[in-house]
Subunit: 218 residues, 2 copies
């Protein structure tokens, strides 16, 4: 089983590394980090510098395809960047096509979400609606072979859910225990329905401003 995690400059690190940590513990799975080009690729902070070995063309028929989110996804989706073509083509033969966070916008641009329920980072619900989807507040949405997760950290839950389906409950539980995923957040503010309204407004403002800055400089 080949699992391709498709990256692009400006992806959000945990979106990709959460599922990566689950999938690389899966016996018999070949996990491939790929991008448009080989070589240097940075995350959205510009602090995490990756060297990429494989292009999208190298990994044209993955069994599982996963794309992380990032503040740049709205632009990439609009401009139909190379990752969108890769998703559309690979989707024809995947067993599962999946996204974390605003990676869902890339699936949307590739036409993968047509007529399906899907989720994304809560701040991007409106952007997902632009693809004709009805976003849900569910953390992981399984619609046949298309699986979408909520923001950033939800990729861990997505990956464990997927392993449970493809390799059975025991394998998924073993990986969960291996990465000691027994979450105990010190606060209960991780979803818009749970966070105090003032916190929600604060985050909406900060993330909106960050995206606006990003779009303005390009």
């Amino acid at each position: 089983m080949q699992i391709a995690i498709g990256l692009y400059p400006g992806f959000t690190a945990l979106d990709a590394i959460g599922p990566y940590q689950v999938f690389t513990n899966l016996p018999g799975a070949e996990v491939v980090l790929c991008a448009e080009r080989r070589g240097a690729l940075d995350d959205d902070n510009g602090l995490l510098h990756l060297e990429i070995d494989h292009t999208f063309d190298d990994v044209s028929t993955p069994d599982i395809l996963l794309v992380p989110g990032g503040l740049v996804t709205r632009r990439i989706a609009k401009e139909r960047g190379p990752i969108v073509d890769w998703i559309r083509t690979a989707h024809a033969t995947t067993t599962y096509t999946t996204s974390v966070c605003t990676g869902a916008l890339l699936l949307g641009a590739a036409g993968v979400l047509d007529g399906l329920r899907a989720t994304t980072h809560w701040i991007a619900y409106e952007q997902l609606r632009a693809y004709g989807e009805q976003p849900t507040a569910q953390r992981v949405v399984v619609e046949g072979k298309v699986v979408t997760a909520a923001g950033v950290s939800a990729g861990i839950d997505l990956a464990l859910t997927l392993v449970g389906v493809t390799h059975g409950v025991e394998t998924a539980q073993a990986i969960q225990l291996g990465i000691e995923y027994d979450p105990q957040p010190p606060y209960d503010a991780g979803a818009p329905s749970k966070a105090p309204p003032a916190i929600r407004e604060l985050v909406t403002g900060v993330m909106g401003a960050a995206e606006a800055r990003l779009l303005a400089t390009e």
Copy 2:
């Protein structure tokens, strides 16, 4: 505030990237990924290739120091590798010295844990005892300025806990909402006390064999 995440070849990706994702959302924080040398550095899967910009010497007085775990930590701790010296020296002036997973063994080797309660990946409790510590099954252990977390994914909980202390509850909640950390694992097997015994034995066997293979090839 400078936050240094100290890496070494063979670190476990999520151990570092969980806290990284929290800390890089912290207003005014400078997050630095550092290692013994500049240049290429791989994780324990050999699949995630990083380019490191900063050496330990470049980041000698961080406010917060964090070290991730990995299967190689027992060896590095025993051989008192460069990261151990860095921890010992920097610890004199840190506000917080912290570890995720078996990163605790590196703190132990640096003498940071002397007389303190601490935690690590559940599979390494015995190894932590070798440093005279009494490991606890707590997910995040705060002992003054020394903060240790359980395995792999527990670094997210550690980082949010720390932000709550240094920057207040509202900032921590805003970051939690920003990374949509509202965990909903599909199973409840993420701690040794919760996983079925057969799963625990399976993971113990697999991880023990992986470490043995690693030590045999060096």
